[in-house]
Structures are given as C-alpha cells and as structure tokens.
Amino acid sequence: MSLLSVRNISVSFGGIHALSDISFDVPEGVVWGLIGPNGAGKTTLVNILSGLIRPTAGSIAFDGHEDGPWSMSRAVEIGIARTFQQTRAFNGLTVRENLRVAAVAGAGHALDLGIARRLGLEDSLDRVAGELPYALLRRLGVALALSLKPRLILLDEPAVGLTADEIDRMGALIRSMTADGVTVLLIEHNVRFLMSIADRVSVLDRGRLLFEGTPAECQRNPQVIDVYLGRGGEDA
C-alpha cells in the first residue's frame, strides 16, 4: 500500500506547463529519488506536495488523507515536512532557537535536542544560524524538518555544496530516517549520491515523468543519460 499517491498533477505558470500529468506512488519506508536536469520541475513538485503552491489540476492522497492538494499548515499537520534547495533557516536566531521554533511553534511539542545530536549540531546550539558554515546550515535545514516528526520528508537537494565526507554523512542520516519509519522523497543533482541511497528513482524532464525504476535501471537507460547530460533530446 502506498503512503503517498500523486494523481495527474499539472501546473502551469503564465501559460508554461511546469508539470504535466504527473502520477506516481511512494510506498512507506523507502527513499524515493527524483532526478532531472535544471528546470525539469522537481522543486515545483515539492512545492505542491508541501502546499506552497497549488496545482492547476490533479489530486494527492497521503496516509489515508484524500483531500490533497492542501495548505502548508495542513501538510505539516498530516505529517509532511520539507527542506529547501536554497537552505532556509531563521538566520537571525541561534540553532537552538531555530529548533525551538520548529518544535514549539511548528509541531507543538517540546524542544527535542536529540535531533540536534543526530545531525551533529549539538556543539553549535548557541551559534547564530546566519553565521554557520554551509554544511552545518544544510544540516540545520534537515533538522528543522525532522523536528516536525513527519511521516514523509521532502528533501530538496540536501547534498548541494557539501564535501564528500559530509555527503556520506548526509547519506547515512537519510538511511537512518527510513529506519525510524520516515519515508523520504529525495531530489538530488548529485546522482552518484542519490543512486547510492535511493530504493527507487523517478526521472523528470521538462515537466514530464520520463522514467521510473531502480537506480541500476536508471543508470543504464540511454534516454536518461542523454537528458541528464544536456545532450540532444526533443525540442520543448
């Protein structure tokens, strides 16, 4: 049985189709990868699932809730959390305050510093987010989403700009999420990284779903390789 079920989602901005007729099902407990070149519509999809924008057509069901698409607060309420591609944190607040905001004001429970420990932020609790090194800031972004204790987490390029060591660490973290029963929808440019941790992969190209399968199938698919390297492909 699938946790998330996306049916015929389409959205257009000013006449341009950003997503057309996207459908897929994400079962519980997996890491589901979503790749595609710039402008393919990956972030748009995350924005729709998290309620930041409304699709023009289509429906979403999640964990028994059939009423999607929904508002941002509703999405959080039913257990969907997200991170942002350009890491967003409350830059004027300390790490501790950031986590407090997410836990207390967002999810409505007490601050749990276990998440900070899990993400290696425990030594930086009193640093102001805006002054954090990049890698810590990215981890803070994930920590904010995890503070909501979601059932599904949407990670928008968590590995961007990280060093190899940090990427490995992020990978381990993502795997550990599924162990805790959190399902992950992972958008990533770093395909090597994605392939190493995803159970299944969808490929988006210019708003359409081009491929769906295991990472190994994906890496062998010539169409995917062409699209991904920006060679050829049909005209938009």
Partner: protein, 323 residues
C-alpha cells in the same frame, strides 16, 4: 516557563533599585521619570510587534490614545473605579487593535507602514472630531486621579511607583509572550515567513497575537497616562508625536531585545529634558545626537552593549571574536 526565572529575578532587582530611588526624587524628576516609564511600557509592547515580528506599525500612538480616552471616559463620565477602568481600557484597545491588525496585515513592508500611518492619522482625527466623547481639540478635562495608595509617599511618588510596576509587568508579560509558542512563531514570521509556513506555523495567528499584545499594553499605558495627567488632548496621540516617538525609542534602544527599548525610553525622555538649558539649540542638538547615534550604533543601545560585552568576553578569553 522555567526560562522565566532569570528575567524575573534580574527585573525584580532592577525594579527594587528603581523603587528605592523614588523617595529621593523631586516633583519634576518624578514627573519626567513617570513619563519615561509610560514610554517604556509603550516601547516594550511595541517591540513585540516591531522587533520580534518584523512589522512597523505607525498606529501604536493612536492605540495609546484609545486607552487614554477610554480610561478618561470610564473614570470621569461613567464613574468607574480606576482599577477597573485600567484593564477595561487595555482590553478595549486590544479589541480595536485586532480590528486594525486584520485590515493592516493584508499588506507588508513599506505598504504596511504607510497603511498603519493612515490608520494612525485617522485615529488622531477621530479624537478631534468625536468631541462629544473626547472633548475634541480642547482636550478631555477633569480626569480623576488614581485613588491614593495609603502605603507610600506623595501622589507623584505613587504615580511613579505604579508606572514602574507597570513597566515591570509589561516586561515580564512580553518576555513570557516572546518565549511562548506564539512568540516563537512571531520570530519565525520575522525571520522567514515562507519557512515558517513550511514548518506548519500559522503566521496569521502569530502576527495578529503580537499586534493585539502590543495594543493591550499600549491601552494600559494610555490609561495610566490619562489618570496621571488628569487631562489628555489629541495632540499627544498624533502619528508625528507618539506614533513616531515609539519607533525611535525602540530602534535607538535596540530592536529585538526587551530591555533595550526601556533604555531607549529612559534615554530619549531624559535627553530633551537635559537639553532644556540649551533652549534655542536644544532641538538641533537632539536631532544631531539622534543622527550620530543611529549612524554609529545602528543596532541601538542594546546592540552596542551586546557587542561590547562580547568583545570584552572574547578579549578575556584571549582571542579574536569569531566571525
């Protein structure tokens, strides 16, 4: 609320010190100190909106006036006890504040500032036009004094004591508010409202509560002002008077801290008084000092002190301050 212990203790010590000084002051200093205390209440309550939620409202002076006229009317015309009129005025101001907020929060940034400027100007005009209730331009005359408190000193001393306790209560309430889930949500709104929404925070509720909180204490400050002065006139509540003054107090004191605005209120009430001797040049000196201050300490007194303390600490630790 275990985090409140420290601010509670520190503020109690400061309050005790301030109260201990009361018997030493002459009538003039008592009056100026009382004004400073009322402005401190205004500034702290305003900072919850400006410093913690990130919205610049210029209607705060008008809300201050709502509280003042409400208390004046209740005590002078309806002959309600002051101790009842005080919370009633604060509540009514909070309700009106909520209405203003619902209108104003349809906009943001400079548009929000100008919209609230317009609301502030309308409020001031209404005080003038509704002369049946407010006394119009001639002001509201004959507001009864606060009932005497048998325990302590002269009427002026009692006023200052009540005002100081008012500052203390406002400070504690504001501290509790900004640390409550709502207050934390307000800071999220200030920092990044998209992220706040993505974390499931209902930003409309958060910023509305900040506005209403500010309005409540602005109303209380207004009620105190009315009863302490026995007379109020619309001019005190004009946008160009209290409306801008409270912004200046908070920015000069230091936005986003709750003690900074108190320092701002004290300093900027004392400054023009100390410049009285310079008469013709006093306003020029005031403007120039304000300009110099904002240029050299753009984050206010609080920012200046915090930076200084940090530098001192890292110097003591024997290393450069980290970036």
């Amino acid at each position: 609320m275990h985090g409140l212990t420290r601010p509670l203790l520190v503020s109690l010590v400061v309050l005790a010190a301030a109260l201990a000084a009361v018997p030493l002051l002459n009538e003039y200093v008592l009056y100026v100190a009382m004004l400073a205390a009322l402005f401190a209440i205004l500034a702290v309550s305003f900072d919850v909106l400006l410093g913690f939620t990130g919205y610049l409202s210029l209607a705060h002076g008008a809300l201050f006036g709502v509280g003042a006229y409400c208390c004046a009317y209740l005590t002078a015309r309806a002959e309600v006890s002051f101790w009842l009129a005080l919370p009633a005025s604060a509540l009514l101001t909070a309700v009106i504040g909520a209405l203003v907020a619902v209108l104003a929060f349809r906009t943001r940034d400079l548009y929000f500032a100008v919209l609230t400027l317009g609301i502030g100007l309308v409020g001031h005009q209404l005080f003038l036009v509704a002369s049946g209730i407010t006394g119009g331009i001639g002001g509201f005359v004959g507001i009864p004094s606060m009932p005497e408190i048998a325990l302590f000193g002269s009427p002026s001393q009692q006023k200052l004591v009540v005002a100081l306790i008012g500052v203390w209560i406002t400070y504690l309430a504001a501290t509790a508010f900004v640390r409550s889930p709502l207050g934390v949500a307000c800071q999220a709104v200030r920092e990044d409202h998209v992220l706040a929404q993505a974390l499931g925070i209902r930003i409309a509720v958060a910023r509305l509560s900040a506005f209403v909180f500010g309005a409540f204490f602005a109303g209380a400050a207004g009620a105190l002002f009315a009863t302490f002065s026995n007379f109020v006139a619309p001019e005190s509540f004009a946008v160009l008077a209290a409306g801008f003054q409270v912004v200046v107090l908070v920015v000069v004191g230091g936005m986003g801290t709750l003690w900074g605005p108190i320092l701002g209120a004290v300093l900027l009430t004392a400054l023009p008084e100390s410049l009285r001797v310079a008469s013709t040049y006093s306003l020029l000196a005031y403007g120039a000092l304000l300009l110099a201050f904002i240029i050299f300490a753009p984050r206010g007194i609080a920012g200046f002190l915090i930076d200084g303390a940090r530098r001192l600490r890292s110097a003591r630790a024997g290393r450069e301050p980290s970036a």
